[in-house]
Amino acid sequence: MSFSVTEPNKGTKWFAGVLVVGYALITIAPLLWIIATGFKSPADSISYPPKVVFDPTLEGYVNLFTDRTRATADMLEAEGEPQTWYERIVREQGTVIIGPSRYGERFLNSIIIGFGSTALCMVLGTAAAYAFSRFRVPLKDDLLFFILSTRMMPPIAVAIPIFLMFRNLGLNDTHLGMILLYTAVNLSLSVWLLKGFIDEIPVEYEEAALIDGYTRFQAFYKVVLPQAATGIASTAIFCLIFAWNEYAFAVLLTSGTAQTAPPLHPDDHRRGR
């Protein structure tokens, strides 16, 4: 039996081309819609039927980054002509800017909490995974199952006890509290994933390093860690995405200093701030 590759004819090529481009457009449409919504006025963005053609405006972004207050006609009169383009936009809503919003601060909180818990998760997770992978740990399988079992209940189911615990420990609305919470939730996942990655690294490399004159910790640091780097990175991304996107606990446990970016948005819309 023989196979031959023949050049498809022109019609077939065109048809294939149209099919591919069509499929690409369908796939990319939601992303384009998200981007377009960013440039719609609040009214346009929730209108029904949805507006495909609209007047692009930066109103949404101005609302996100500024704090505004509703003003009476007299007050607007007293303000005089708007000086900048963004003042002009808020003036059309009948409001005036009273300062920057706390969005930047909250975005920073997201970064501190997201990256903080991810880093803590990686340090603890790698250490635990290495120990489970390399040493004879009593009841190893049971312990691993126990660690996994901490994920067998939706964390929000224990929201009330956690809320009370945080309040009593003074962890409410603190960076540390949120970092600890997300680390606790993510740690089981990272231990399991990282153990898999470390299991793949032959133990001979560490033994070679031990014989080459290094201590076990140095062998871990210089030989195991570099080889586990890709695994650690992909596990870190999992942890970061979870911590970054977590919403329910963020709303429940933070209100000011440690509030992250996502819980701000509903406020923004409801109060029209």
Partner: protein, 331 residues
């Protein structure tokens, strides 16, 4: 360099006894080859000496110092592994520098550079120094791996079948290389293999291991000519020693149940008839597969022999080895 001695070393892994009361002394500057099939305890012995595993019982000392409780780093040993020999995330140069830069040696940068250069020259890998370790061929990897052991001056070199993954030509080259490096440097070397040619060509001493027990320790010649058992006799010699019931030839001493005949212990042209089953021309020698009183015998003859299948050759034993029923040597 140093003398290594093992005294009553025993090690079990669960119910399996890997080493059973092994006592041997590896003299300073010797090249000791441990021979035996898989599971005989060769690698376990190396790991005990290196400190990667601890014996259940017994004592290991290097240069007269008891090694109990010392880490591999403190023992100052170098080891070449059978596989996974190079750190894959480093270049060849970094691999060779690694032991020199250890916190124990802390070699100065000039020294590191000089030593790595020397070893790279000896092993002919200078042009590959800045390649990633994973970009090398199997032979080059193993050369670098041996280089990583040679780059420092440990008290003893441990090698675990370092040549087994290489092709025949490279293996032959490195065999000569290793032997001359060891002879020049006067290093003490403990080498594990199941390749008898490596044992015969490189060893000053051979230790024969059988299921965790050291059955014989001596020069390769001693083990070849004066084996303690059929097992030890079978470790060395190509083709293998022929073992037949002792009574097929006249003159067996009392207690001898089996007779062992190496090719050179079979005189052709005298004695009793045997039939030629097969003739194998290997170039430098010719192997004869004979049938003698319904027993198979393999021996060696003149490279240009005229013998052919079906011919009759007279044979008789010459100074054969005799073994008892349990395989132990009786005469």
């Amino acid at each position: 360099m140093a003398e290594v001695s093992l005294t009553g070393v025993t090690k079990s892994f669960g119910p399996d006894v890997a080493l059973d009361d092994v006592t041997m002394t590896i003299p300073d500057g010797s090249f000791v080859v441990l021979l035996g099939p898989t599971g005989a305890g060769k690698t376990t012995t190396l790991r005990m000496v290196s400190g990667l595993d601890a014996p259940d019982r017994g004592q290991i000392s290097i240069d007269g110092r008891d090694m109990a409780g010392l880490t591999p780093a403190q023992r100052n040993v170098a080891m070449v592994f059978q596989q996974y020999s190079l750190y894959p995330h480093m270049t060849v140069r970094q691999n060779l520098e690694f032991p020199l830069k250890s916190p124990i040696l802390k070699t100065s940068p000039d020294q590191v550079k000089r030593k790595v250069g020397e070893i790279a020259d000896i092993l002919q890998i200078t042009h590959k120094l800045d390649n990633k370790a994973t970009e090398l061929s199997g032979g080059e990897m193993q050369r670098v791996s041996i280089g990583r052991a040679l780059v420092r001056k440990p008290s003893v070199y441990l090698m675990d079948e370092p040549l087994s993954s290489l092709d025949a030509k490279l293996r032959a080259d490195l065999r000569v290389e290793l032997k001359s490096i060891q002879a020049d440097s006067g290093a003490t070397l403990l080498y594990v293999t199941h390749d008898q040619i490596e044992a015969m060509t490189m060893a000053t001493h051979v230790g024969v291991l059988d299921r965790g027990r050291l059955v014989q320790f001596g020069s390769p010649r001693e083990i070849y000519e004066d084996p303690v058992s059929i097992y030890a006799a079978s470790r060395l010699g190509q083709p293998r020693i022929n073992v037949l019931p002792a009574n097929v030839f006249a003159g067996a001493p009392t207690g001898a149940e089996q007779i062992g005949l190496r090719p050179e212990q079979i005189i052709q042209g005298e004695g009793e008839d045997s039939f030629v089953q097969r003739v194998e021309h290997l170039g430098d020698q010719t192997r004869l597969h004979l049938t003698f009183k319904s027993h198979d015998i393999i021996t060696v003859t003149n490279a240009h022999t005229e013998l052919r299948t079906g011919d009759i050759v007279k044979i008789r034993p010459n100074k054969p080895l005799y073994f008892g029923a349990n395989g132990a040597r009786v005469a």
